[in-house]
Symmetry: C2
Subunit: 345 residues, 2 copies
């Protein structure tokens, strides 16, 4: 037999998801929103229940050479909680599945769960179940989070309208920069094991990579400010990729301004001076920042303009899938949705 074989890396992760989603239709009256947003939306009567899942695989999403298991457990919960925040909801429960090779001891599992429990306490989320099994190689963590949102408060990727203001929280590019530092120090250590890694001066950047924080605080603050975003997504694959997602789902385009993109001073200095890469590239394509990217109506501008941790970086326009950045020099350059293709070898 000569069966056709197509490689997954030619499709990429998003292509694969689109292919899967294209073959699925929803039958159940309680299934309000399926594949294609940060979380699925299920009608639970009074409220919507939100469900999201993320799988982290050793050697793909994390390198145990420089990732303490406590941090890994914490991060695995955070990235899931972040998906619920991106729907404007509050996470309430998680289930955690682990596949572990016999390389891992009971103490290692304890360390991982210490981080998981710390994150659960931080986000006020209960660990209510899971599955634990052997694996033939390495560690896989699969977490599903369950959240809740009032029916009139849910925010999708699809509600952005022309002239809406594009906002992003915190700062971008630090998590990617932290990863570059960790990988550099690993190389140094491997070539000279007596050398201790000098990570003190990079504490912020490394912390952003190893222990990101889901912006559940922003969901509360937006509510206090009386703002419901028109669309929202969390920044897991990089600002550019997320703008493309919002644009695709809302059938609009975006225009952002380089000088408005929030980049921490340490990210700026480390990328530009040490790694000789453009800090803006890290912010646009670095990913793993787990900040919230959202759009608001211009009517809400006054309510948000003085918020220290929410940055207005551009606006929405009506041209679908046209995304550009105005540089500091005043040139307009098209954005590319780079994201990450884990399937690249």
């Amino acid at each position: 037999m000569n069966e056709k074989r197509s490689e997954i890396n030619e499709l990429g992760e998003f292509g694969l998801i689109d292919r899967i989603a294209g073959q699925v239709s929803l039958q159940h009256p309680s299934s309000v929103k399926g594949i294609g947003d940060d979380a699925a939306v299920i009608d639970a009567g009074n409220d919507f229940v939100l469900v999201s899942t993320d799988l982290l695989a050793e050697g793909v999403h994390f390198d145990l050479a420089f990732t303490p298991l406590q941090h890994l457990g914490h991060k695995a919960v955070s990235v899931n909680v972040s998906d619920i925040a991106a729907m404007h909801g509050r996470a309430e429960q998680v289930v955690v599945s682990l596949a572990l090779s016999n390389r891992f001891s009971v103490e290692a599992v304890d360390a991982l769960y210490e981080g998981i429990r710390a994150a659960c306490a931080q986000y006020k989320v209960d660990l209510v179940g899971g599955d634990t099994t052997a694996s033939r190689s390495g560690l896989v963590i699969s977490i599903t989070v369950v959240g809740r949102v009032a029916k009139d408060k849910v925010v999708y990727r699809s509600g952005a309208k022309p002239n809406d203001i594009i906002c992003v929280t915190g700062d971008l590019g630090a998590a990617y920069t932290g990863l570059q530092i960790l990988e550099r120090e690993k190389e140094v250590y491997l070539s000279n094991p007596d050398m201790q890694p000098g990570l003190e001066k990079y504490e912020y950047l490394v912390g952003r990579q190893l222990r990101p924080i889901a912006r559940t605080d922003i969901v509360f603050e937006l509510e206090e400010l009386g703002i419901k975003p028109t669309s929202m997504i969390d920044v897991s694959d990089g600002l550019a990729s997320e703008l493309f997602h919002l644009g695709k789902n809302s059938n609009v385009g975006t225009r952002i301004f380089e000088d408005k993109i929030p980049i921490d001073q340490s990210t700026f200095e480390t990328t530009a001076l040490e790694f000789k890469i453009d800090p803006i590239t890290c912010a646009l394509n670095g990913g793993e920042d787990y900040e919230l990217l959202f759009t608001i109506s211009q009517d809400d501008f006054e309510k948000i303009k003085n918020h220290a941790d929410i940055h207005m970086i551009g606006y929405v326009h009506e041209k679908p899938n046209e995304h550009s950045m105005v540089t500091k020099q005043g040139n307009e350059v098209p954005l590319r949705a780079q994201g990450w293709n884990h399937f690249k070898s």
Copy 2:
């Protein structure tokens, strides 16, 4: 440093789950039931929402040498839906996460999802999300199922009372026997690749292993009969192991009768004549049957006694953790909770 290292295989899967559960407490008012039943129970207002998750890893839970990907996808959904049935609930949504090495083509992913979609159609469940990522080796499938049950209808493992009748659906031991056949034929094939496996006469047994069916029908039928079980669990690790779970959670013991345990004729013949193993051992410890094991009040005996697919195999007594079987010869032998320890090397 001389850190303590304890091996996971000394604890086993259940020991590890107990260890994790012992360190967790529930804070959220909506978390009704956490770790320790077939599914977590979440208060969603009018109903309970049920959440369960199962992770299947290549080389541990399945062998792609004899597992068609369509069947694997179908089975991965079925084992999750079965957990919801075991709570007396109905599955409504699933999220599916995959980790795949580049050994897998797009066509392979299509085949897997074909099985997932077939199972979703069969059980009237919607595929509403997931995560797809690369892995450094092999295939991992993690599915989380969301179900629903009226608050007064939920059935836990913990409600069995002395004198309750123990019931099991379908027949037991066939899935394990099917696995023995598949492994035997794999050996034959590996030693002589020109030899085609002769599986026709084992169709039922192999089907039970490769494509088990969650007993959602029983949940409907119990409702029609006006029966609410006092406790319930699905048979994933073997009858004996599940009896220990019910006993532990309900603080009772059980006594079953060998001649009442339902074993299909083909299971009986194949195990006894070909594999020279006791069919009862397969039924008690084989696992993966995904039948429902439940207890009912004696008051419900009349309603159920003529049901062709529900078998009354024994009764509950008040002595905690004492589980025995009365053999065909009239001897009483203690049961052992064998289950499966995937962590054994």
